[in-house]
Amino acid sequence: MALDSKQDTNKRDFKIVGTRPPRPDGIDKVTGRARYGADMSAPGMLVGLVLRSPHAHARIKSIDTSRAEALTGVHAVVTRADFGDVEDGATADTLDNCMAGAKALYDGHAVAAVAATSDAVAKQALKLIEVEYEPLPHVTDVDEAMAPGAPVLHEGRTNETVPQGMSANVISRCQFGHGDIEAGLAKADRVLERTYRTEATHQGYIEPHACLASMGSDGQADLWCCTQGHYMVRNTCAAILGLEQGKLRVTASEIGGGFGGKTTVFLEPVALMLSKKAGRPVKMVMTRSEVLRATGPTASSSIDVRIGMTKDGRITAGFAELRYQGGAYPGSPVDMGAMSAFAPYDLENVRTIGWDVVTNRPRQAAYRAPGAPIAAFAVESAIDELAKGFGLDPLEVRLKNAAREGTRASYGPTYRAIGLEATLRTAKDHPHWTAPLGPNQGRGVACGFWFNFGGDTCVSLNITPDGTVTLTEGNPDIGGSRASMSMMAAEELGIPYDKVRTVIADTGSLGQNEVTDGSRVTFAVGLATIEAARAAKREMCRRAAKVWGIDEDAVVWEDGAAKPSGPNAGEFPPMKLEEIAAIASNTGGPIAGHFEVNAEGAGVSFATHMVDTEVDPETGAVKVLRYTVFQDAGKAVHPDYVEGQFQGGAAQGIGWALNEEYVYGEDGTLQNPGFLDYRIPVASDLPMIDTVILEIPNPGHPYGVRGVGETSIVPPLAAVANSVSDASGVRLADLPLSPPKVLAAIRSR
C-alpha cells in the first residue's frame, strides 16, 4: 500500500530527522569488535572449500570424489548429485550456479566442495577430486555471443520475444517508448549515431563472501552469513535443500559491502549441504580470486544510439539498442537499462530496444542501479556530443529537454513531483560550473535516474519496563540505516535518539523482509518504523486513558507523553513514556507496536553530476580534480549518510569510467582476479567529493523520503567521459578510459 499521510510533508518541523547523531554500531566498528561474515566460529567447526572449473565452458563427464573422501580429516564431499531438483526456474539457475550440473559454464564455476578439519586438509582434498571435463568452445563477448554459429550455452531458453533464427544465446528482447523515431530524426538539424561499449565490473566489496552453516540431523539448521538479505537466503536455501522456511534460521552478520552483489547466494546452500553430510558446523570463506571469478559482476554491453537534436538544443528523437550479456544464465538488467536510458527527458519520440544475452562468464548479480549506469553512459555522452557540436551549454540543453511533473516518461508512466530540474538549476548556479580550468583540463556533466523500490517489510517496536525502546527490523545495515531508523522512531515517539536501539533480527523473529537493495531501506523500513511507532503511541494513549478513567479518544500523544485533550477530558498531568512503561504490567501487559507491509510508493530520484579532469597528453592518464554531486533525496533523514551514499556511488562510477574492467584471455579465463589488476579507486586517485542534497518530497512517504543509494552511480560514467572529452578534444565511446585507450585516441586525432 502507498500511505497517503497528507499531514506529513517536509514542511513539518523535525526535531531529530535531519540532524547528524552518531551511529549505534560506531564503537564496535572502530574497535574491531563488530562481527562480519568470517568472524564467527562454532565448536567442532570444519573448513569448507570449493573446487572450481578451470575451463570457461566444458561438459562435466564424471566426478570421482572417492580419494578425497578417504583422506583423513575430510568429513564430507558434495557435488550436484547431492542436491535434488528445484521447480522454480530462477532458483534452479541459482542452484546450478552454486554447484554445476551437466556443464561448467565459466572459469571458476563450482563443481564440488569439501569439509575438513583444517584449511590444509581441505586444500589437499580438493586436489584428490578427479573431474573429467570435455572442454567446449566458449564465448565471452556479447556481440560474438549473439552471432549465428556462436558456441551455445543452453538450448531452449530463448523466449517468445526473440525473432526466429537468432543464436540460442539470445534469451529475450524488450522494447519501450512512444512516438515515431524516423519522423523525429527527420526534424533534427543533426543526428548522432554512435556505438558505445562497456566492460563488466564488480561491485568490489572489500569483504569476501563468508558463512557458517550448522545443520542438524532433525532437519533444523542455523546459518550465519554476510548478506544483504537474510530472508532471501533463508527462502532460497530452503527451496534448494527442500527445507521448510521456518526450519532454517539465518542470522545476518555485519556486512562489509554489498552494492547488490550480496543479494543472492553462492556458498550458503553448499555450506548447509556440507554441514548436513558431516554432522558438524562448516565455515566457508571465499578468497578474493573466487569473489572476482565466481560471484556476480555486472553486465558488459554494446549499445547503438541515434539521437536527433535541433541547433537550438531540442532533442527531436532518441533511440538506443542495448545488448547486455549477463554471464552464464538469463537475467541481465538490460530491461532496466532500456527503461532508464532516456528517463530524464521529455521526448515526443523515443524508443529503446534491449537484448539479454548469455556468455561463458560468471552469472551477473545486481550492481547499484542495475543496468542504468551503462545506458546512461551511452545516452548522456551522445547528448553531450550533440550539444557541444552546436556550441550549446550542456546544462542548458538538459534543462531544455528535462522531464518534469506531468511529463510522460520514456518508459511509460507520467511523473509525479520530481527533482531533476532542481538538480540542473542548482548545478548551473554552483561555483563549480564557472570555476576556471587550466591546460589539458576539462569539465563534464551528466544526469542520472533511478526507480527506487519498496517491498515486504516488518518492524516490531518494543518498549522495555524502563521506557527504552528496541526496534527490531529485518534489513542488514549497509550504510548506517540503523541510525536513521532510531531517528525516525525517536521523532515519532518524541523521545531522545539515544533511548532507541535498532536491532537487525534473525529470520526467526520476523516473517519476511525484502533484501536491502533498491534504495529501499530508509524509505520502506522507515515507513514501517513510523507506523509501528504510531501503533505503540495509540496503545500508550489507551493505557493512559484507562488510568485516568477517560475515553480513549480524549488522549493524544505530544512531546513524548500522553496528554488529555479536548474540553471535557479532565485535568491530568501528561504521562511520559517511561511512566506508562513502568506500569505496563498493571495496565494490560508489555507495550509494543508493529507494522507489516508490502511498501509501495517509492519515489524516483534524479541526479546531476559535475566533474573536472586533467588528461596527461603523454600518458593518457586521467586525474579527477573536482567532483560535485547534485541529487534529490526527498527528505534527508541523516544527512551524513545521504552524503556518504552520494560520494560512494560517485567513486564507484569513477572507477567504472576510468580503470575497472574484467579482462578475459583467449582461453576464456579471467586474467585479473585480484585487487592489483582489478583496479578500484584508491585514496590518492580522488579529490574531495562535494555534495548538494536537494529535497523535493516524495508524496508516497510520511516524511517525504526518496531512496538515495543507487542514483549516485548512474551519472558518473558519462560525466567523467564528457569531462575527458572536454579536456583532450577526443570522444571515447568505450569504457574504461584507461591510459592506453586515451593515449591512442589522442594520438590518432
Binding site: I27, G32, Y205, A683
Partner: protein, 159 residues
C-alpha cells in the same frame, strides 16, 4: 611436521601460540588468537584491511608469517583504544561518519595512526598517499580524509 612455537607481544600483552610454517600473521591473529578485528579482503597485500604494526612498522599482516613475530611487538586495532577511552582517530571517524560498512575501518585506523606518529601535521595529499594502500569501496574516502585531518589537528592541540 610439527608446529612452530612463537612467543610475542600483542597490544602490550604477552602472547604465545603454535602455528604452521605457512600461516600468515593474519591467520594467526584471527584463527588462533581470536583477534578478528583485522580483516582479510584479498590475501595478497593489495587492500590493507589486515593492516597491523610490527615493531612500529606498518605492514599487511597477510604478507607477514606468523613465525616472523617471534620476540617482536604487534599492535592491532584491538589495542588502539585504552579501556573505555577511544583514540582521537576512532572518535573522529564516528563524528565525521567516516565509515559506512566499516570493514576497511580497522586497517585504515591502524594505518592512519602510523602516519600521525611519523607526521603529526600531514597535508591532505600526504594523507591520501599514505592511505593509498587501504581500499575503501563505500565512502569515496572523502569523510575518511576529513576525519584523519581533524584527528591530527586535535592531537597537535593536545600535545
Amino acid at each position: 611436521m610439527s608446529k612452530i612455537h612463537v612467543t610475542t607481544t600483542i597490544n602490550g600483552d604477552p602472547a604465545e601460540f603454535l602455528c604452521e610454517a605457512g600461516d600468515s600473521l593474519l591467520d594467526v591473529l584471527r584463527d588462533r588468537l581470536s583477534l578478528t578485528g583485522s580483516k582479510e579482503g584479498c590475501g595478497t597485500g593489495d587492500c590493507g584491511a589486515c593492516s597491523v604494526t610490527v615493531d612500529g612498522r606498518l605492514v599487511c599482516s597477510c604478507l607477514v608469517l606468523g613465525a616472523e613475530v617471534e620476540g617482536r611487538s604487534v599492535e592491532t586495532i584491538e589495542g588502539m583504544a585504552e579501556g573505555e577511552t577511544l583514540h582521537p582517530l576512532q572518535r573522529k571517524f564516528i563524528e565525521h561518519a567516516a565509515l559506512q560498512c566499516g570493514i576497511c575501518t580497522p586497517g585504515i585506523l591502524v594505518a592512519a595512526r602510523s602516519l600521525l606518529e611519523r607526521n603529526p601535521d600531514p597535508t591532505e595529499e600526504e594523507v591520501r598517499y599514505w592511505l593509498a594502500g587501504n581500499l575503501c569501496r563505500c565512502t569515496g574516502y572523502d569523510k575518511i580524509i576529513r576525519a584523519v585531518l581533524a584527528a591530527a589537528a586535535e592531537m597537535r592541540e593536545a600535545s
